[in-house]
């Protein structure tokens, strides 16, 4: 069997609906299989689920997704924003922040301001605690329920 024969063979098989073909020699072992079998499996699941892409919460690229944080810090208490607005760590641009990491604050002490509609809403600690993390940056917009501080009851 020369190259021309092989060429003819390839052409023949290509034009038929044969899926497998075998030919052995001296003297002859031919095997022909029709129909596609394996192609069906091709289905490679690219993505498990996650059908809907999510819109970014706020445009600011610095904002970490609110949902991601809590999982990491389950052992701390979370102080959340009760309103939509802008987070301010200090009473004025020139003042020092109300609290910083490591501070022990008493119940009722102001932790920050969330400004909404020109109204300065003071957010107070509900219990005595130690500030573990200030989650939001100064002047950052916050949503309802966003975590502002991680604290530890003391």
């Amino acid at each position: 069997m020369d190259i021309k024969d092989v060429k003819t063979l390839i052409k023949l098989v290509s034009e038929s609906d044969i899926s497998e073909f075998e030919l052995e020699n001296e003297d002859n072992r031919i095997f022909i299989k029709r129909g596609q079998t394996e192609i069906v499996q091709v289905a490679a699941p690219v993505q498990a689920t996650a059908a809907m892409p999510a819109a970014p919460a706020f445009a600011a690229p610095a904002v970490a997704p609110a949902a991601a944080a809590p999982a990491v810090n389950d052992k701390y208490e979370k102080i959340k924003s009760p309103i939509v607005g802008t987070f301010y760590a200090a009473p004025s641009p020139d003042s020092p922040p109300y609290v910083k990491v490591g501070d022990i604050v008493g119940a009722g002490q102001t932790l920050c301001i969330v400004e909404a509609m020109k109204l300065m809403n003071e957010i107070e600690a509900e219990f005595k605690c130690k500030v573990v993390e200030v989650v939001k940056a100064n002047a950052e917009p916050v949503e309802y329920g966003d975590i502002l501080f991680l604290v530890e009851k003391v």
Partner: protein
């Protein structure tokens, strides 16, 4: 022009507004309650802000939270959708005071048309007919005869303390009035402990027909024809169509003129709807004006080719109307079915997770819905989860198209009113157009 819109709503109308904004190149901010964070319009918006917990009063009705969301996202306009704050004059006013464009009519428009008595006075002055009647008690049979004569027969005598049809008497001629009056009074006494009755013009088999208004801030007002929303259950619209299949052209023209006159009388400046009661003799009476976009606006879009939400946004941005009345051409027939997450027999709400979802497609089929497979229909809000809208050359073809589209619509995991709509589309009376607001009450589907 407007650059960024806060969509102060949820569900399909939030998505509807979002789509219009996207096509206009306007950025969108979705505001949502904590339980709505997985909503489709939240996922598709340019930005999203959680504004409060599940109860509407703390989120979608929370003006301060919505305004704060606009502030922190640097939005310059708010679209209220329908329901929630859409007809709240105070909210419209605050928006304007905050320098935000409220995409809707003025607070004054809302106040004038929101109050039933001032609305009736205003439109009457503009020459729009209202349903004649006394509204307050009629003391004597002589007085009753005089009033009925003024109103014109048939009239209906109703107990001022009553409701639900009890003690009502329909009178077709003066001769039967004394007996009916006496009977109504005694039934009212027996039923409600108060014999007082009043007299109103009686509408036989009334239809709910409404006119879509489009107005700008420069005094231009046109209408986009009428919708027939007679298929109602307990005053809740379930199926709407456009045009109204039985309306004579002459009446259509008069009704349209009246609607425009009513809107002009209050210097109306956005989209809105004038609702009329149409009786069997084609007399029509002003009921009320809705100073917002309505759930059923798509049927009008289908037959006019006009994107009502885009026009509303452009109008709010100060653009003059792009159309004159004579530019408006009505093409074919459109029907909308409101698909609710409800038991299709008892109409009890059925919230829960959708497990299997496939929407119908093809020529003349439109789906306005914010749900998707695995979406949880929440118990906190309205049960409407989708609007299925079809457009065809004729009413007959539209009904067949709706029937086949309903057959293709698959929503599993929860009960929906799809089977109810299928029954209506196969009902002979409905197919023949013999509908009025009492249709569902009297019809065995």
């Amino acid at each position: 022009m407007i650059h960024k819109v806060v969509i102060a709503n949820r569900g399909e109308i939030a998505l509807r507004i979002l789509r219009a904004c996207k096509e206009l190149g306007i950025k969108t901010v979705a505001v949502h309650s904590t339980v709505d964070s997985e909503a489709l319009h939240v996922k598709l918006a340019d930005q999203s802000v959680c504004i409060g917990p599940a109860p509407s009063i703390d989120s979608y009705l929370n003006m301060k939270a919505i305004l704060s969301a606009a502030e922190v996202t640097d939005a310059d306009a708010i679209h209220p959708g329908y329901g929630f704050l859409s007809e709240n004059a105070e909210f419209a006013e605050i928006c304007n005071n905050c320098g935000l464009t409220f995409i809707g009519p003025t607070a004054e428009n809302m106040r004038l048309m929101g109050d039933k008595i001032s609305a009736r006075q205003t439109v009457t002055a503009a020459g729009v007919p209202i349903l004649p009647g006394t509204k307050s008690g009629v003391p004597s049979v002589d007085e009753a005869i005089k009033i009925a004569g003024e109103i014109g027969y048939p009239v209906i005598i109703k107990a001022t303390a009553g409701g639900g049809g009890r003690g009502m008497k329909i009178v077709h001629a003066p001769t039967s009035l004394p007996n009916a009056f006496a009977a109504a009074r005694s039934e009212a006494q027996a039923g409600f402990g108060n014999p007082e009755v009043y007299i109103e013009k009686y509408c036989e088999r009334p239809r709910h027909v409404e006119i879509q208004i489009l107005a700008d801030k420069h005094g231009n007002v046109i209408h986009l024809g009428e919708r027939d929303c007679s298929i109602q259950r307990r005053h809740q619209k379930l199926i709407e169509e456009a045009p109204c299949s039985i309306l004579p052209d002459e009446v259509r023209r008069k009704m349209g003129d009246c609607a425009v006159a009513a809107a002009k009388a209050v210097n109306y400046s956005s989209v809105g709807t004038i609702e009329f009661l149409l009786d069997a003799d084609y007399n029509f009476y002003f009921m009320e004006m809705n100073t917002r976009v309505q759930v059923e606006h798509p049927v009008t879009e289908m037959i006019t080719g006009i994107d009502i939400i885009k026009e509303q946004i452009m109008s709010a941005a100060g653009h003059p109307l792009r159309f004159k009345q004579e530019d408006i051409k009505i093409n074919g027939h459109a029907i909308e079915c409101r698909i609710n997450a409800e038991d299709p027999e008892k109409f009890t709400p059925c919230p829960g997770k959708i497990d299997g979802y496939h929407t119908p497609g093809g020529l003349g089929v439109r789906v306005d819905s914010a749900v998707y497979d695995q979406y949880k229909v929440l118990p906190h809000y309205d049960s409407m989860i989708a609007k299925l809208i079809v457009h065809a050359e004729t009413r007959e073809e539209a009904i067949k198209r709706m029937a086949r589209a309903l057959d293709e619509y698959i929503i599993e995991g929860i009960k929906t009113t799809i089977p109810f709509h299928q029954r209506v589309m196969n009902n002979r009376e409905f197919i023949e157009g013999n509908i009025d607001t009492g249709f569902l009450e009297r019809t065995k589907l």
